[in-house]
């Protein structure tokens, strides 16, 4: 993966830049020592490493604004970072750029139960929001599996999902407002406690923009009341096709479960060996279907889902009878990544989304690819919304295996696009899938996206090298190539 060529003049000006930054963020907030910088060299995509030039840890919006303005004036690139859990290399540093860490923005500023929202700083963890409001029975709905560590600022950047987003939506559906800082230091507020922020939907645009448009310094999120109860069904099927058909039938039956997850045989075995969740080992696919709401509704839906599962050939069907048992059903699924980590020295987690009906085809093609590359693959799947997480097993110490895993991953993602899906459902493009963007978007599509970038960051200093395979200069993108003149289309009906 090629990153933009480091600008040697910036690297040589490091001492000056440090002085300027220390004038804005005093004390230990500016890190230059190599051992301390090492902490920031990578994110959740650990295959890529790069020491940043400098790390800055501001504490106030004003400091963020001044840091960005200072960097803009000096032409210094900036990589924003929350907790560094990105699985796509979104926070991968640049040799000639600073890391702007938002870790000190860790306060819950306001909880407003009457308006069912909370105002938090971007460094608050996803789970930290729920912890702050659960005493009153509320929670923040998106629940990415890294929720104990990942920050809400990072969730905004990546539009994070989680197992419950089928019913309760992604980050983008659960935000009300933002405070953000542009690369030139401008501080903007979007939305607030009201719905549907005025003007162009910059809130929606910012969500999932991977830190390329602005730095988020405050987030207003919606809060929901916890459902009265939740119960899960554990359903085992002889084939993935039957499990897939069952998922389609549940949805066609008008039921949107709180969560609906699928695991394939290798994932079931890895998880069962690790946490002993009591998963059946003689099935090819396992579904966990969680239903939540009032007891009356959950009872009703459990009967319906059980019937549908039986009609679709489920050979195992268990209903959680206690909260403990419900959590045990989830234990294996939630531990699937580390479980796979136990059976292989390394694994590479993919994140494509497909139309659900394409699942059997995609799984079959993936098995063929697995043979071709000589690498095993285990699949966990947000079955309700078609988001696949194939885990490719490899050993980085064996020459060529990382490259083979990456090629295998690329083939899977291209397949996702081929069947009508997309490259990434919730992990982001980052550096990881940057060079695959052409599989999904034309040059025109990508140029239009970059023109949006130009409106926010015309010098392309904010998180460059991510998302777009090729960086165009804004002046070039702005040019119009029109051979205008007369009205040249006689066949266009007019009246």
């Amino acid at each position: 993966m090629k990153m933009p060529d480091p600008d040697q003049t910036i690297i040589e000006a490091k001492a000056d830049i440090v002085t300027a930054l220390r004038a804005i963020v005093p004390g230990e907030g500016v890190i230059v020592d190599e051992d301390e910088l090492r902490v920031y060299e990578s994110d959740g995509l650990t295959a890529y490493k790069q020491l940043p030039l400098i790390v800055v840890l501001p504490e106030t919006t004003d400091q963020v604004s001044q840091v960005l303005k200072c960097c803009q004036e000096r032409g210094v690139k900036v990589v924003p970072r929350g907790a560094g859990t990105s699985l796509s290399g979104g926070a991968l540093p640049l040799a000639d750029g600073i890391i702007l860490g938002l870790g000190k923005f860790n306060r819950v500023l306001e909880i407003d139960f009457e308006n069912r929202c909370a105002v938090v700083q971007p460094g608050v963890t996803n789970l930290g929001i729920t912890k702050a409001v659960e005493s009153e029975g509320f929670y923040y709905a998106p629940d990415p599996s890294s929720q104990i560590a990942c920050t809400i600022g990072g969730n905004v950047a990546e539009n994070s999902g989680g197992v419950h987003c089928l019913k309760y939506g992604l980050t983008t559906n659960n935000l009300l407002g933002l405070e953000m800082v542009l690369m030139d230091g401008t501080v903007l507020r979007i939305g607030g406690k009201h719905l549907d922020a005025e003007g162009y939907d910059l809130l929606g645009l910012m969500t999932g923009s991977e830190g390329l448009l602005g730095v988020v310094t405050e987030v207003t999120v919606r809060l929901l009341k916890k459902p009265e109860t939740a119960q899960a069904l554990l359903l085992g099927f002889p084939t993935a096709e039957q499990a897939g058909d069952c998922v389609a039938a549940i949805i066609a039956g008008g039921i949107i479960p709180g969560g609906m997850e699928m695991m394939d045989k290798p994932a079931i075995h890895a998880a069962e060996d690790f946490v002993h969740a009591g998963y059946p080992l003689d099935v090819d696919a396992l579904l966990i279907v969680e239903l939540d709401g009032p007891q009356a509704e959950v009872d009703h839906l459990i009967t319906e889902v059980s019937d549908i599962a039986e009609r679709h050939g489920a050979v195992t069907s268990r209903i959680s009878e206690s909260e403990e048992e419900r959590l045990s059903f989830w234990a294996g699924r939630k531990a699937a990544f580390p479980a796979v980590g136990r059976i292989s020295p390394d694994y590479y987690c993919m994140d494509g989304t497909i139309p659900r009906a394409q699942l059997p085809l995609v799984l079959r093609r993936m098995r063929e690819m697995s043979e071709k590359y000589g690498l095993r693959v285990a699949n966990v799947f947000h079955a309700g919304d078609g988001n696949l997480h194939p885990l490719i097993l490899y050993d980085a110490n064996k020459p060529g295996e990382l490259e083979a895993a990456e090629d295998f991953g690329s083939d899977i993602l291209k397949l996702c696009v081929e069947v009508g899906g997309v490259l990434t459902g919730e992990h982001g493009v980052g550096v990881e899938k940057r060079d695959l963007m052409g599989a999904m978007f034309s040059e025109t599509d990508m140029k239009q996206q970059q023109r949006v970038k130009c409106a926010f960051d015309p010098e392309a200093l904010l998180n460059p090298g991510k998302v777009f395979p090729q960086l165009h200069r804004c002046a070039e993108l702005g040019r119009m190539h029109i051979s205008g003149g007369k009205l040249p289309f006689p066949d266009l009906p007019r009246f």
Binding site: N115, G161, D196, A252, R356, M440, T444, A455, P488
Partner: protein, 404 residues
Amino acid sequence: MGSTFSIENRDQLVEAVTWAAAEEQPLEVIGRGSKRALGRPVQAAHSLDLSKLTGITLYEPEELVLSARAGTSIAEIEAAVDEKNQMLAFEPADLSPLLGGTAGSGSVGGVLACNLSGPRRIKAGAARDHFLGVESASGRGEIFKSGGRVVKNVTGYDLCKLLCGSYGTLAVMTDVTLKVLPRPQKTYTVLLLGLDDATAMKAMSRALGSPHEVSAAAHLPAALSPGSAVSYVAEAGGAVTAIRVEGPGPSVEYRCAALRRELADLGQTEELHSRNSLTLWRELRDVQPLWQEDERAVWRLSVAPSAGPEVVAAIGQGAAYYDWGGGLVWLALSSEGDAGAQRIRDVLGQYGGYATLIRAPQKVRAAEAVFQPQAPAMAALTARVKDGFDPNRVLNPGRMYAGL
């Protein structure tokens, strides 16, 4: 002399916009024309008519996805999904009658361009939350796509969000893909009778803060309740607060009973079942309580729910009702002078939120800010975004903001 370009396919659209961009000839973008009276009047000699760019191109109920050409009638789409027991969960408001047109005459592209959502917005999200993918022509005359046909997708910027609510000022949509959802089996409504605005606010807040999955909460003050076609509402003899629950039968019955119990201390309760519920919520969705006020200007305010009654009291004029648990205020004011613009903006300056002038005579919409005025830095960013799509400002110029 201006022309109307009747667009039947993408090539024609590219040709027309390319010409307009080259000649710097502004175009008014029209889906089916039902909302031309919404927004600032567009200064354009020529118009693009997309009403022939129609048809549902993909509908897979079990995948919860539907694609259509942008000019397709929203009524046709709603009928198609209804046949499969599904719905557009954002409950698109039909503003045509309010704006002097006929019901059901809008296009799907128009609904998205205006981000029109109804009472279920508070639970299911707005139109923008159900907009999965788009193909459109920028003001450069280039076709670009964004999004896809799946819900979970973070591949590239979410330009669907940007186009949704941009009133045709950034690009001309040709094809759109929407998320659809199962239609609830039952719809019940708990009515609370005779509450003042502040108590109603308290009731809605309590209901929305309960685990009963309330899908809508509205309050019709005494002056507006008699206009309803639902007799329980019209004959209530005072204000009516309505709280909706939807879902499978046993669940709806249970939640309805629980809400009546939990709200009993605030006032007398009543219950509407499916048919009456559907009628009432359609009236509230389409702003029917203010249809009769056709001499008056109609404003739509989005505020923090708890601020709704205070904002209305501070404005102190006109007829108002509340949706979205108090957070959406529909307000009819005299259309004389600035139609109350200054007064409303001043009040919102204290409480936050924003106001849009939905219905007013053309001269008022030309003279006053129809959309909430922006602070200079936000206005500058808005202009840069606009120029990124439409550098010669040929698409619906001035529709949202003067000069843009």
